[in-house]
């Protein structure tokens, strides 16, 4: 299967070293809470601005999601009592956009459209769950090819898509249930150490993983992410300005975005056991002048264990097909693992806030503030994923 057959990398300009992340903020992560996504976003943005040591009137750019997070310029002004001009992009938020918001912000800052940009994502799907057909599968149930060709046969929703991919990965490469379980266990161990994580009080051993019931064989419940309310935000500005602010500088070193031609139709992606990370990651690494062996900590969008395993392969941390053996045992743990991964707990055990907390966690690691700190972490990477696209964000401490 040649790469050109099923996807491509977006042609990104080099933005390495132009901007830094200077503030992070989090709203509470929870099960159903009755909070709206706008309230959650306001909490996260306020916290991020405070962390940066800035005033709300200093923020003149917002990147947010096309859906869900309803915190545009009007909402910002209403919440903070401000009235200045704000540049707004709807190509921000979570998932892949939790990474690519940094690219769009860098270009906006370069153009002079904004000086300081906040990227925010929030979600209230735990509170809204009863309104959704098949939970987060709702958006797929409404898609008419899926509705007429997949849903009638039970090929729905996401746990079924990704259990199908896991089955095929197992057949092609010998990946085992225990190997998938080791990803879930690593996330849970990190969540148990993180007071902000939804699953902070619920331990998970490989034995209890293997004993838990199958819900979409080969998947168990613990292969699947949580449904949560919560959100987070991060503030970006030029690297020169970042050095004058109070937090240690975290440089945006590289960004990439890859796209699959088959879009949301997972069933039809020619390379069924890969992600568009194979197009995205090389762009980000080249832009940063870094290689996978330089990475101290990884967070990746982990709706299901297999998605992390594939992204680890597709980012180049191991050859394709060897992900199962790579993640075995304690390989992903913060203390001594070869690739400390989702050290906040991930979508599996921290909260399902669609990747925004993953970027915040990388920043914490590079500042030395994580609940599961990797000693002397200086390079961190986030892998974003939607299915149709994958993105890569490389962050570097200090901004040398």
């Amino acid at each position: 299967m040649s790469l050109a057959d099923w996807g491509h990398a977006e042609p990104y300009e080099d933005v390495s070293g132009e901007i830094g992340i200077v503030g992070i903020g989090e709203a509470a992560y929870s099960r159903a809470s009755g909070r709206t996504s706008r309230q959650i976003a306001a909490d996260a943005v306020a916290s991020a601005i405070e962390d940066a040591g800035l005033k709300p009137s200093d923020v003149d750019g917002i990147t947010l999601s096309m859906v869900d997070t309803d915190f545009d310029a009007a909402a910002f002004h209403e919440h903070f009592g401000t009235s200045h001009d704000i540049w707004v992009s709807r190509c921000g938020g979570g998932m892949t956009w939790a990474a690519t918001a940094a690219y769009d912000a860098a270009l906006a800052i370069r153009r002079g459209d904004a000086k300081t940009v906040v990227n925010v994502f929030s979600v209230d799907w735990a509170s809204k769950r009863g309104e959704l057909v098949g939970g987060p599968g709702h958006f797929h149930a409404e898609e008419l090819f899926k509705q007429n060709l997949e849903v009638p046969f039970g090929w729905f929703p996401q746990p079924v898509y990704f259990a199908s991919i896991a089955r095929r990965h197992m057949a092609e490469f010998g990946t085992t249930t225990e190997q998938l379980g080791s990803i879930a266990v690593a996330c849970r161990r990190h969540a148990n150490r993180n007071p902000l994580a939804v699953m902070r009080d619920k331990p998970l051993s490989i034995e209890s993983y293997l004993e838990s019931p199958l819900i979409a064989d080969p998947f168990r419940k613990e292969d699947c992410c949580l449904i949560s309310d919560g959100g987070a935000a991060y503030v970006m500005t030029s690297l020169a300005r970042a050095r004058d602010l109070r937090r240690e500088v975290v440089e945006v070193a590289g960004v990439g975005l890859g796209t699959s031609k088959t879009g949301r139709y997972w069933a039809q992606q020619p390379d069924f056991t890969a992600t568009p990370q194979i197009f995205s990651a090389p762009v980000a690494f080249a832009m940063a002048g870094l290689e996978p062996c330089d990475v101290d900590v990884l967070t990746c969008y982990d709706p299901f264990t297999i998605v992390s395993l594939m992204q680890i392969e597709d980012m180049g941390f191991c050859p394709k097909g060897e992900g199962g053996r790579f993640v075995e045992g304690k390989a992903l743990h913060f203390d001594g693992g070869v690739l400390p991964y989702n050290t906040h707990g991930g979508l599996l055990s921290h909260a399902y806030v669609l990747g925004i907390a993953h970027v915040v966690e990388v920043v914490k690691q590079l500042r030395g503030e994580s609940a599961s700190q990797v000693p002397d972490a200086s390079v961190g990477i986030y892998g974003g994923y939607t299915g149709p696209q994958a993105s890569t964000l490389l962050l570097r401490r200090g901004g040398a």
Partner: protein
């Protein structure tokens, strides 16, 4: 959600011929008349050559099991009555590059194997709490010939 969900909408134009074929006991797939590529899912012009003309052709119904999942949980309440059941993607003999979502029947889940040969069979699709039924292309293992 549409009345009858999760039964298919037999009138929806892009997939109408797929379901009409099933009602007639045929597995039909859309194919570009110019370059002969299969246009699956049939969401417009041929993705290979851009031609507009797509025709539906009858397939032999032979396939290989590409991957499968045993549903143990009712992700939709309408799935509940049938649990557990096997939802699968199959690769057709004539069109190995595309995958057809289906259910596997007449086989215990523990006896399934990747790439095992299958054949189409037509069965009524029904859902708990949903009126009506639709004949759908399911797949089953090709019966092994007994060797004397």
């Amino acid at each position: 959600m549409r009345e009858g969900f999760p039964l298919p909408d037999l009138q929806w134009e892009p997939t109408r011929e797929y379901w009409a074929g099933a009602a007639a006991g045929e597995l039909r797939m859309p194919r570009c008349t110019a370059c002969r590529r299969f246009c699956w899912y049939p969401d417009g012009n041929c993705r290979g050559c851009g031609a507009e003309q797509v025709t539906w052709e009858r397939m032999t119904g032979r396939a290989k099991l590409f991957t499968w999942v045993v549903l143990e949980h009712a992700f939709l309440p309408q799935y509940g009555r049938d649990l557990p059941f096997v939802s699968a993607l199959v690769a057709l003999e004539e069109a190995p590059g595309v995958r057809v979502p289906t259910r596997i029947v007449e086989c215990a889940a523990e006896d399934l194997a990747i790439d095992q040969p299958l054949e189409v069979c037509f069965r009524p699709l029904r859902f708990a709490g949903v009126d009506g039924e639709v004949v759908a292309p399911f797949f089953r293992p090709i019966a092994r010939l007994s060797v004397a």
